[in-house]
Amino acid sequence: MRHPTDGTLRRLLDEPDGVADADREHVAGCQACLSGLAAVREDAVAVGAAVRFEVAPDVDEGWPRLSRAAAADEPRRVAAARASRWRAWLRSPVAAVAGAAAILTGVGAAAAADWLQVFRTERVAPVTISQADFLQLPELSAYGEVAIKEKADRRAVPDADAAREATGLPVPLVADPPRGVTGEPTFQVGDKVSATFTFSTSKAARTAEAVGEKLPPPPPGLDGSRFRLTAGPGLVAIWSEARGVPALMVGRAVAPRAYSSGVPFETARDYLLAMPGLPETVASQLRGFSGQGTTLPLVVKAWKQTTRTADVNGVPGTVLTTRDGVMAGVLWVDGGFVTGVVGSLSADEVLAVARGLRWEP
């Protein structure tokens, strides 16, 4: 019979009952496996000693500390949670999501000598992901080189006119703001972002190896093929509460696009979706809307957010609500722009804002 894997040998050390009888018996009578087992044991013992750190924490001391922290945390908890969630939303601008997404959903296009547009965002759709899968979600850089060519340089500008001038985009007007949203908004802008992604077989192989898998043979021409991703410029109007935590944010950006320099895009997409490392639950959802190359996947963390679709003046929008009800947002794509309304509000309130928006060119 074939020799059991190193992984099986490793488990034999800790949980022999978890190893199949046939494997156990094989190892007991196989010199090669016995010496392999000895090497595995030696590493396990050495590492065990290296990471060993004995602590005997005092639970009775720890509980009052946590209890106080939780109590002290409570009054400012909502604001802090909101602030951190805002930071998370701001940190993952459309462009970042679009990078991996565009590669994975771009439609097949014939090979072309020059950059060929293979993806343009016409709508958004949620990809729901579990916490376990989220932790495993590889970044685009796991499969090749990502080079940022143009940066967003996100910055505050003095007023609406400056925002218009910097981006060439109209600014939003909220005629009937929800309760708790008052005063004038401040504006931030970001420039067009562009990045190239160069697929690397050797990098992808290392990623596969890290999860204990072998890289499937890549299609001809994929190694070294390049994709260009763009998004923006964009602007955002922010209405803040007294503490400086945003209460409502309305943003618009030129929607992400992707271009290919070489291989048929479908080939690259099908290959990437079959790669080890990408959780199957995510891959199957992405496969589901790869047909037209126009759907921008929006990552929804199933343990934190819920999602549904809603109509925004005749255009389908994706509504996200945090499970604790602290924040809600809606995102839609229309006329080559992706627009979002996010607030420390209910889903109905953000939808009302979204449907009542006017844009001042």
């Binding site: 509980w63 909502v78 899968d133």
Partner: protein, 175 residues
Amino acid sequence: MESAERGDTAPAVRPDLEQVFRAAYPRVVAVAARVLGARDEAEDVAQEVFLAFGRSAVPAGEAAGWLSVAAAHTALNHLRSGRRRASREEAAGKDESVSPDIADTVVTREERRRVRAALARLPRRQAVALVLRHSGLSYAEVAAALDLSPGSVGTTVRRAESALRKELNRHASSD
């Protein structure tokens, strides 16, 4: 005023927090301590993790696994963000009085620094699997926590140990 109103509607800290804390605190500290090699900092991480758990809707039955994974990730994040500095190292040195026989004589501070650096360089999933396994979680528990098959836990842990050992040996021989 609006804030107060919205604050009222926010969910309170979960009622089973104390029960879960008392059952799981030692293990959560132990997981963080294996990564950080310092008791004070491990307790800080554990507090942070329980505070997050207190606000979460994680089912009670999954609490132990969730807390262990969160402790490993949070501790690894601390390593990576370089939040630990000289004063912490000093504090860690004092902690060694907890187990003077092992901590002081076998694992020197320099070795511990190397372990932390090597852990931080491992692929995240390997690092978490290694830390959880050496914290006493069963293969089934590590598998559930990381959404792996129990079979591939052995492979992942083995790869992590092999890589970590190489890193440690490389540094030891280059000294």
